[in-house]
Structure formats: C-alpha cells, structure tokens
C-alpha cells in the first residue's frame, strides 16, 4: 500500500463513463423489474385462481430459473437462442429479457405470498358491496397484496440492481463494464475501485432507503 501513488486526475477524466454506466444499470434494473413484476403478478394470480394444470408449469419455470446461474441464462439468451433460430436482438434487449425472466421467477413467489395473505374478510366485504371479481382484484386484492409484499420486495429489488453488473459479461456498457473499461485504459486500478464501489454501495442503500420509506408509509399494520 505504501508505495502506491494515487492519481485521481486521470480517472476523473473518465468519470462520465461511470455515471453513464450507473444510469444504464438503473435503467436495466427498472425495465427488468417492471416486466418481472408483470410476469410475477400474472403467474401468481394464475397459480392461485387459474386452472390446475397451469400450476406445475409455473412451478417448473420458477424452479428452473431459480436453480440455474444468471450468467448461464444471460449467455443462453444472448448466444444460444440466436444460434438456433433466426432471431436478432442487441445485447441490451437480450439482457433485459433475461433479467425479466429471472426476476419474474423470484417475484412470483413474493406476489403469491402477498396475495395469499390478503384477509378473506376483505375480499368478502368487496363482494358484498357489489364489486365484480375484476374490481375486487383491482381495488382490494392487489393494493393489499402489494402492501404486504413490500418488505420482501425491497431486498429482491436491490439484488436485481446488483445483478445488472452481470450484463458486463456480454459487453453492455453498464457500471461494472465502465469500471473495467477505465481500468484497462488508465491502469489506475485502485482509484477506479475507490470511485465505483461507493457508487454501487450508495445506490444500493438509496434504493433500500426509498423502499423502507415506502414501507413505513404504506405497510399493513399488524
């Protein structure tokens, strides 16, 4: 440590790369979480209220995705599928698709637990004031389920944000990629990590803090 000469000036020149990378990381996470939530919610509803034959299919999807490394899924979608069928897409689309499928498998479980925990009395009250099943779902079950699921969602969201770093393996220019890029351009390794690591830390905890605030405001008193 003693003989290392710090030179932040060079790294600062490229700092823009890191912030562009951070923005892209956040966009990747947000897009994947949005699609993943939709997948999770729909599949959770189907496995609770839908036909019986759909349940093993959903379980197979959840189990397969949760027991295989994300990196392998990323390669499978980016290199594997285009090699077998005639379908072209860029790295970003490919990664968002993969992370959505991946997050969907985790969010199904979270959403199902949330939906199951909605008190029966609430649903019956909704029916008895004459709401259609669709309206009961939209105005009673979903808002309550979201509130119940919120604490478990926040951890999943943060780890999905961290998982966007894996996109660097297929050269998506997000934060981890930007970090490695500056490092190979400048060889100022320690400085790059001293800048990039706090960016990840601060962003992760900022996401967690925001969700904790939301929890305090919306969570169900128990």
């Amino acid at each position: 440590m003693a003989n290392y000469h710090f030179n932040f000036a060079i790294v600062w020149r490229y700092a823009g790369k890191l912030f562009e990378g951070l923005l892209l990381s956040l966009e990747l996470a947000a897009a994947s979480i949005a699609i993943g939530m939709a997948i999770g919610l729909v599949l959770a509803l189907i496995s609770l209220d839908g036909p019986k034959w759909a349940r093993p299919l959903i379980a197979a999807y959840v189990e397969f995705v949760r027991n295989v490394p994300l990196l392998l899924l990323v390669y499978l979608v980016f290199y594997g599928i285009p090699s077998a069928i005639d379908l072209q897409y860029d790295a970003i689309t490919s990664f968002v698709a993969t992370l959505s499928i991946y997050s969907g498998a985790y969010l199904v479980e979270v959403m199902r637990a949330g939906l199951e925990a909605v008190p029966r009395g609430l649903i019956e009250a909704g029916k008895s004031i004459g709401l259609t099943p669709m309206k009961v779902l939209w105005h009673v079950r979903l808002p309550t389920a979201m509130r119940i699921a919120l604490p478990s969602l926040s951890n999943t969201y943060v780890s999905l944000f961290k998982d966007t770093s894996i996109a660097s393996a297929i050269a998506v220019p997000e934060l981890a990629y930007g970090m490695r890029w500056i490092e190979t351009q400048t060889f100022r390794t320690v400085e790059v990590y001293l800048l990039a690591t706090p960016i990840y830390l601060i962003t992760s905890y900022a996401i967690l803090l925001l969700l904790r605030l939301a929890e305090r405001r919306y969570s169900v008193a128990r």
């Binding site: 961290k162 998982d163 490695r180 390794t189």
Partner: protein, 211 residues
C-alpha cells in the same frame, strides 16, 4: 449427438471445479461467519460495529465487482493472488457476510422469554447457550443456509470471468470449438439444476418442518 457425448468428460471436469470452489467457499464462510454472527447477536457494541459495517459493505456491492477487485485491484497494492485463490477469497468475503446475517437473525428471532425462562431456572450463560439458544437457532439457521448454498453454486459461475475453467467456462470453450450453442447451454443448465434443485427442495422441507 456423438459430439455431445464426446464433450461430457470435459464438462464434468468443469463441474468438479465448480463444486470445489463452492465447497471451499461454504466451509470458509461458515468458519468466519458463524462466530462473527454470534458476536453480532450477543457481543458488546465495540465488537458489533465493525462486523455490521463489514456485512453491510459487502452486501451492498455486486459479487462481480468483489471478484474484479480481488483479482485485478489487489495486485496494484502488491497483493498477487492466483485466479482460483482470488475467486475463493472474493466469494468467501461475500458469503461470510450472508452467513453473519443468517446467524444473527437465527438468534435474534428467538423470543426473549426463552432466555428469561432459562435464567429463571438458574442456567449459566454457557448452559443457556448450549441447551436453550443454540438448538433453536440451528433450526432457524438451516433453511436460509441451504438456500445460500444454492446461491453459492450459482454465484460460482462468475469465476469463469476470471478465466477459471469451471462448468460455465468449460461450456463456453466446448461451444467455441463445436459451434453447438443452444443444446450445450441447456445441458449446462441441467447440470447446475441437478445440483441445486435437490438443495432447494431440502431447504423448503426444512423450512416446513422447523419454522
């Protein structure tokens, strides 16, 4: 099909590396994480603070960044580790933070009435720990721990990015030579699945039984 069978021994070699890395990481993380987790649950503030800081720091950074940091970053300050060792160090740093959290959680979720009752019948600190707290903590520890073993096996695929020929990289190499991409990725996925699915199922059973 013949090429696929031909590649199997190569993939199995990779799989063994994956298992070796995962096993080292799990064992080392338990050795580091269990005592530190106990300190975090029962220790004085001056001992808790650095452990909390460490656990929160490591869990806020992607594993990939930790791996790069140990492999590419540490040599800049004259700490040169070969790739396999770097991988184990980085993954252990991450996993032990999780084990610390799981251990703390297992002890802290035990109702305080248990400790009070143990005190009331006159058990010493040592006896309270051995006969009252530890047996209950183990039951709470096991389900999340087994789940975190699954995460370790999955996370170990990242070591391929440091050039370690684990299952992931051996897949990539075989695909590079044979140009049979999709079937090989699926075979690789099934190999990971074959290891992880029984563990996930075990974790669920333990949870049903114990929690």
């Amino acid at each position: 099909m013949a090429t696929l069978i031909h590649t199997l021994p190569f993939l199995v070699d990779g799989l063994l590396t994956t298992l070796l890395v995962s096993a080292c990481v799990i064992v080392l993380s338990l050795i580091i994480g269990l005592p530190l987790g106990c300190v975090l649950a029962f220790g004085p503030l001056w001992a808790r603070a650095p452990i909390r800081l460490y656990a929160d720091f490591v869990r806020g950074v992607p594993i990939l960044v930790l791996l790069y940091f140990v492999y590419y970053g540490l040599p800049a300050i004259k700490v040169n580790l070969p790739s396999l060792l770097s991988a184990i160090v980085a993954l252990t740093a991450f996993k032990s933070a999780q084990i610390i959290e799981i251990t703390r959680g297992s002890f802290q979720s035990i109702p305080s009435g248990q400790t009070e009752a143990a005190k009331a019948i006159g058990l010493s600190l040592f006896d309270r720990f051995i006969h009252v707290l530890a047996p209950q903590a183990v039951r709470r520890f096991l389900p999340p721990f087994v789940n975190s073993v699954v995460d370790t096996v999955k996370g170990s695929s990242l070591v391929s990015l440091l050039g370690i020929v684990d299952l992931m990289l051996s897949l990539q190499q075989v695909i590079g030579r044979t140009h049979v991409a999709l079937p090989l990725y699926l075979i690789g996925a099934l190999m990971y699945f074959a290891i992880n699915f029984p563990l996930s199922a075990l974790s669920r059973r333990l949870e049903k039984r114990f929690v």
